[in-house]
Symmetry: C2
DNA sequence: TAAATTCGCTAACAAATGTTAGTTTATGGC
DNA sequence: GCCATAAACTAACATTTGTTAGCGAATTTA
C-alpha cells in the first residue's frame, strides 16, 4: 500500500483524523496528537497554523470529494431511480474511501471557527440541495412516491452518513454490498 | 406549562442538556454551565458529584425511556410490519419528547467515564438487539424482504436517531407526521 | 562552500480546566 | 428563638489547554 513513508504533515493529518474521530475534536490536545505522531506539540505548528487549521483541512477536503463524486455520478442522465442510486453509491464510496475523515466531517465540523464555520454550513446546504433536486424531479416525473422531499432526503442522508459504523463492525461487508443493500432498502422498502 | 419554577438541580440539568447538545460535552466548562444557570461553578457540586455525573444522569434516563417505550409498543402482538411501525413510532416519540437530552444521548455518550461507559454500551447493544429481533422474525415469517438484518436495523436507527435535526428545522413538522413518513419510507420505499 | 530554508526541539506563556476547602446565608422543624 | 440542613458563595488548587519564542541541526539552493 501507499504507506511507504508518510511525510510528517501527512502523518499529523492522518493521526488527527483517527484521534478526532475516536474521541472528538475537543477532547484531543495538541500534545496528545503530537505524541501519537512521534513529535513534540510545537512541531505541529511547522505544518499547520493551529488546531483549527487541521480540522479545516479535513472538513473541506472531504466536502470537495462529495461534490466531485456527485457531479461525476449525476452525469449519467438516466431516470431518477437510477440516478438516485448512482449518487447514493457515489456518496457511500466517498465515505468508504475516507472513513476516518468523513466521520470527522459529519461529527466535528461544528468546532470549525469563523469564517470557516459559515462557509462550511453553506457548502453542506448546497450539497443537500443537490440531492433534494434529484428526489423532487423524481416525484414530479412520477417515478417516486409523493411525500415531503426534505424528510426523504433527510432520511437518506441519515442512513448514508452513518455507514461509517459499519466498517468497524465485526461483520465484514464490502462497499458494494453496503451501497447496494442500503439503496435497495431506501428505494424498495423493507416490506415484502 | 411545567415551567413554573424549576429547582436548581432541574435547572442545571436542563441547561446542561441544552449546552452539551449545542456545543458538545467536552466544549462546555463548569463555569459556563453555572453562568447560564445563574450560579457559580462550585455550587453545581451541591447537586451533582461532578461534570460526568450530569452526563451520566442524562444518558441513563433516556436509555430507560427507550426501553420502556419499546416494551410498551412491543406488547401489541401483531404482525411484524405493524410491530416494527409501532416500535419505530415509540422510538421517535421518546426523541421528540426529550429532544435535547436524546441528542446528548446519541452524540456525547462516549464521554462517560468507566464503569458507566461500559454499562452504557451494553444497554445500547441490548436495545439494538430488540429491534433486530423484530426484523429477523419478520424476515423469517416472510413479511419482510430477505436481507442483512444488521444492515437493515442499522439503517433504521440511523434514520430515526437523526430526527432531532428535524425539530430545529424551519419547516414545522408534527411528531406524527415525522413518524408516519419515515416508517412508511422505510417499509415501502421511495420508488413509486 | 555559503546562504537560506525546513523542521525538529526546549522553555515558557496566559488562559481555562474540573474540583476542593472553607465560609456564609437562607430555610424549615422543634 | 435555636439548631440543622441545604445551598449558595469566594478563594484557591493543580493540571491542562493552545500557542509563541527562540534555538540548533539538517537539508536544499545558489
Amino acid at each position: 500500500m501507499a504507506t511507504a513513508t508518510l511525510s510528517t504533515k501527512q502523518n499529523i493529518r492522518q493521526t488527527a483524523e483517527k484521534l478526532f474521530r475516536e474521541r472528538g475534536y475537543a477532547a484531543i490536545g495538541m500534545r496528545e496528537l503530537a505524541k501519537e505522531v512521534g513529535i513534540e506539540a510545537p512541531s505541529i505548528y511547522n505544518h499547520y497554523k493551529g488546531k483549527d487549521d487541521i480540522l479545516r483541512e479535513i472538513c473541506f477536503e472531504i466536502a470537495d470529494k462529495f461534490f466531485a463524486a456527485f457531479e461525476e455520478a449525476e452525469k449519467t442522465d438516466e431516470k431518477p431511480s437510477k440516478k438516485i442510486k448512482a449518487v447514493i453509491k457515489a456518496h457511500i464510496n466517498v465515505i468508504a474511501e475516507n472513513i476516518e475523515a468523513s466521520e470527522v466531517f459529519f461529527q466535528e465540523w461544528m468546532f470549525l471557527e469563523e469564517p470557516n464555520l459559515s462557509k462550511f454550513k453553506k457548502l453542506r446546504h448546497e450539497y443537500e440541495q443537490l440531492f433534494r433536486d434529484v428526489v423532487e424531479k423524481g416525484i414530479k416525473r412520477g417515478d417516486f412516491k409523493k411525500g415531503n422531499s426534505k424528510l426523504v432526503v433527510f432520511t437518506i442522508f441519515s442512513a448514508l452518513n452513518a455507514t461509517y459504523d459499519l466498517y468497524k463492525s465485526t461483520e465484514r461487508l464490502t462497499q458494494e454490498e453496503i451501497a447496494e443493500e442500503i439503496s435497495n432498502l431506501l428505494l424498495k422498502g423493507l416490506k415484502a
